[in-house]
Structure formats: C-alpha cells, structure tokens
Amino acid sequence: MLMSQILKNDRGGQIMLAVLAAVLIVVPILNLAVADTSPLHVPTYLVTLMGKYLTYALLAVAVDLVWGYLGILSLGHGAFFALGGYAMGMYLMRQIGDRGVYGNAELPDFMVFLNWKELPWFWQGFDMFWFAMLMVLFVPGLLAFVFGWLAFRSRVTGVYLSIMTQAMTYALMWAFLRNEMGFGGNNGLTDFKDLLGFSLQSDYTRVALFIGSGLALAIGYLLCRYVINSKLGRITVAIRDAESRTRFVGYKVENYKVWIFTFSAMLAGVAGALYVPQVGIINPSEFSPLNSIEIVIWVAMGGRATLYGAVLGAILVNYAKTLFTGLMPESWLFMLGALFVLVTLYLPRGLAGVWAGLKISFGRKREVAA
C-alpha cells in the first residue's frame, strides 16, 4: 500500500502515527462516551488543548521540512501560520452574521465600530467555506512564493535569509495591528460562534476539530515524507549539504527552494486554520517574531531532519509551557532559553537523536552478543 511504502524505513514515523491514531480514537471516546464523574473522563478543555498541540506539531513539521531537509532556517513561519489563521478567522467572523453586538448581518462588529459602510473587497467570498479554505492554502502559499522567488533568485542564504524572514513576520505584525487594514487591529478576530453551522462551544465540534487536527498532522506528515523519499527529496538534501555542487550538476536550485518553501508555508497555513477555531481568537501577536523563533526551538528540541522529532518537540515543549506558565509564569522564558542552550550543547540531534543513538548502541550490543 501507498502508506506503508511511504513509511518504509521510518520507524519513528510509524510509532508516531500509531500513537496519534490511538489518541485520536481513545480521547474522543473518553470525552463523549464516559460520564463526567468517572476518573477516566477527559474534559473538553483538555481535548481542545491537545488539538492545539497537534496544530503546533503540524507547524513544526512544516518548519522541519525547510530547515532540516532544505537547510533554510526560516524565522518567519509564524507568519504563514497566522495568515492561515486569519483566513479561517474571516470565515468564522462571517458565520457570526447578525448575532454580533451591533446585530449587523453583513459587517463584523469591529467594522461597524469603525463606521465602515460596506465590506472591503478582500473580505468578499469569505462567507463561503470552500473559498476560505482555498485562501488558507493560497495566501500563505503566495506570500512564500513571492518572498522565496525574490530571495532565492538573488541567492540570499544563511543568516541573511533568516533575518529577512524575521523582518517579514515583524512587518506583517505591524500591518495587522493597524485598524485601517481591516482585520480587527489589535484585537484581531474573535467571538466566533460556529463553524459550518456547528456551535464551536459544543463538545462534538471540539472533538471534531481535535480529530481534524490529528488527521491534518498525519496527512501533512505523510506528504512531507513522500516528498523526502522521492528524488526531489534527495535533491533537497543535496542542496542543504552542497548547494553550489547541486547547481553545478545541473539543478536550478532556486526553483527547488521556492517550491519546497511554498509547500511548507501552505502546511503552516493549514495548521493556523485549525488552530484558530480551537483557541477562539486570532490577533497580530501570532505574527510576533518570538513565535517564529519558538517553532524553531521545538524542532531543534525534537531533532532536525527527522519530521517525527518535530512532532515530538512541538508537543513536549508546549506541554511544558502549559505546565510551567501555570506554575511559575515568570520562569518560562528562562527555562525555554536554558532548554535551547542545553539541547544545542548536549543533544545536537535533539530527542530523536537520543533515540537513534540508543538504537545504534543497542544494535551493537546485540551484534556483539550474537
């Protein structure tokens, strides 16, 4: 079968997807079918929290594809995530209809507040779910394509490129903060009511979003793995390791970079679109440069160029974040920084590297024994 072929030689991915499948089956049952009073019951807030982690994991996979395999350290993937989120948020805003504070069926509350008389052109069509979903892919994809086309053709690489990606997300943050931009300014988009007619407060919708996030992660993972297993993937790694040599052999390196970068941005957009209905808000803080840097830390923590490591890193770091920002809110940033330093120093290949290391030493022992 196609799937087993994609996952051949990817033990980490097999395990990750198996665990994911189990979680996607068990958690909804424990939430919906087990009584509130039972100790086994999983409360809805936890389902949503896990759903949020899964969207982060997809985002981390997208970053690992460009960083781990193509060698482009993108410090701007938060922007693609946020743009996907805004596209979804715009659809959710239109779904509110006349249930807003001002009761205007056509205009979202913040536009009424700004005294706008009609919907701006770029809000047209977002009342249609299919159109919004298209934009979730198209807008981040287009930005990545244009950005990549300009940057890679000019052969901007390394630190300079990272700084440019950082500047890109920073500029977008300031743009979206402006009320005149028409995306709700500082407050962003919020007060969502329902998605495709289903109330976002309902347990069933929340569980469906959780499952949707898990499926998106699985599909995104398999797509990335498929790309990496192909000759395209081997060329990608060749570009990472010896860019000028790859060019010399006859590959148009910039084309490869642009397409991988664009594909990765689209995955990030999907992650953002699934994130927004679960957290209930999207605002310009998602564009903050720090957010994009955090994603890179997840990937470094989990282990670059493994994909499943990115999933592991994203979930573990965010779980720790939830835990410690609850216990000692001030300490989290220090811990994150310390974690990053420690991982860079002692686990250059991340957690996935530890696992691979264990496997090798275990295999050696077995060989000796045999």
Binding site: S230, K231, V237, A238, A242, R245, T246
Partner: protein, 263 residues
C-alpha cells in the same frame, strides 16, 4: 587546420571530431589586472586522448580549465569543442551539457547520500522540480549506475554513505559523478593530491581505462603519477606552452629543465 574549412557545415550543438581533435585552443590571452595569466596559448587535444598538463605554480593551468568550462572569458583567442562548438559563446551549464565535465581539486560529493544516490543525482535527465517528485530510476539508468560503480571500483559501497568514504574513494566517486553525465571530454584537476600510493595506482588505472571512450585532460603536480599515465605531456609556463611530447622528451628538454630547476 585550414584544410577542412568550407567542407563542413556548421551544425549548432553537435560535437564534430572528424578532424581527430576534440578541443582547440588558439591564440588565447587572459590578463588579470595587468598580469598575463594566459599568453598566446595554443593547445589541441585529440579525441580519446589522455593528456597530462604540468607546469609550475602560476603557469596558467587552472585559468586554462576555467576558460574551457566557461568560468573565465578570455580577452582574445578561440576555443572550440570539436569543429563546431564555440565554447566562448556558451555559459557554464551549456558547456557542461555539451559534454565537458570538470573535476575540481577538492572532492565535493553529497555526503549524506549513498554512493549510488550520488550517481543518481549527477545523472543526465530532466531536472525540473515536478519531474523529480515522480522520478524513478529506469532499467537503463540503473545499468549505468552499476556500470559506473564497476568502473570506479565502488560496487561494494553501493549503499554506503558518501561522507563515510575515504579521501581517495570520494575522488573516484566524483569522477563517477562526471561519468554518468556521459561527457566527451573530462578535465581532471590534481586527482591524486593527498592520496596514498595504493590509491594513486588505482587512480592511474581508472584514468587510463577512461581514455579511448573519453578524452581526458589531467592537470597534476606529481611527476611520478604523470609518468605512470601519460603518453603525451604538455608543459605550461607563464601562460603558454613551453614543451610538448612524451614524458622522457619533455624531461630532457633544456627549457623545461631550466624552468623547473633553474631560476
């Protein structure tokens, strides 16, 4: 060279070696900031020949290679590949596609790929993004990989990561990466630098086995190695040809002796 003129129609892109020679360099001049790196250089390489080029540092060996591969444009002179292909009109990738392969001094292979994958990546073929996503090795390409591995003696390292190869093996792999592009002319820059004696012997065997099927130009400092492979040696000095002939002839040439031992 004038006898054939007029009898040949100029066919763009097709290699024509009907007059035996595959490479013609005539009256080349290059200077960098007043320094004449190449000074009225004339050199002809025959099809299927294995030629060694020697010369002291600054003799213009690397600059000459740069001109042939399109990296440097000469101030004046002619460079033809076969009868018909004007190298001075082509860009670097076009020259590579026309069938001139160059091996640089420092081996650069794709370290995290296997030996066979290195050859796969270097192979001729459709190199567009969307094609690569679906590309599979066909029987012919697989056969070419196997055959090339045989030639460069790395068959038993088929699945080995290229980064784990020894220095000499990397050099051979890089020659293999040129061979899968099916070049007519191979330019090899100091292939045995840093090699052990055993590796040198194998490299000599390899280069000799390539001659005939390909034309090979080797630039090398190691005289012992040059003696072991060359029929014909060209000595460059101050950007032009000082002497040409068999190794023995060249070594007895008083001007060569003067350049190498005198001064």
């Amino acid at each position: 060279m004038s006898e054939g003129e007029g009898a040949h129609f100029y066919r763009e892109g097709a290699l024509d070696t009907s007059h035996k020679a595959i490479l013609y360099l005539e009256g080349l001049n290059v200077s960098f900031d007043g320094f004449k790196a190449i000074n009225d250089l004339n050199l002809y390489i025959d099809a299927g020949e294995l030629r060694c080029i020697i010369g002291p540092n600054g003799a213009g060996k690397t600059t000459m290679m740069d001109i042939i591969t399109g990296k440097t444009k000469p101030d004046s002179g002619k460079a033809f590949f076969g009868q018909t292909i004007d190298l001075l009109k082509l860009s670097e990738p076009e020259i590579a596609n026309a069938g001139i392969g160059r091996k640089f001094q420092k081996p650069t292979v794709f370290e995290s790929h296997s030996v066979a994958e290195n050859l796969e990546l270097a192979m001729k073929g459709d190199k567009r993004v969307w094609f690569s996503l679906r590309a599979k090795l066909n029987a012919e390409q697989q056969a070419l990989i196997d055959e090339t591995l045989q030639t460069i003696g790395l068959t038993e390292h088929y699945h080995k990561q290229a980064g784990a190869l020894s220095h000499g093996q990397k050099q051979w792999l890089e020659i293999g990466m040129l061979l899968v592009q099916k070049p007519y002319l191979l330019l090899v820059d100091e292939p045995v630098a840093g090699m052990t004696h055993q590796e040198m012997d194998r490299t000599a065997e390899l280069l000799k086995s390539l001659a005939g099927k390909h034309s090979v130009v080797v630039v090398e400092h190691d005289m012992e190695f040059v003696r072991s492979i060359a029929n014909k040696v060209t000595v460059l000095h101050q950007g032009s040809v000082l002497a040409e002939g068999s190794m023995d002839e060249v070594q007895q040439n008083p001007r060569v002796v003067e350049v190498y031992l005198g001064e």
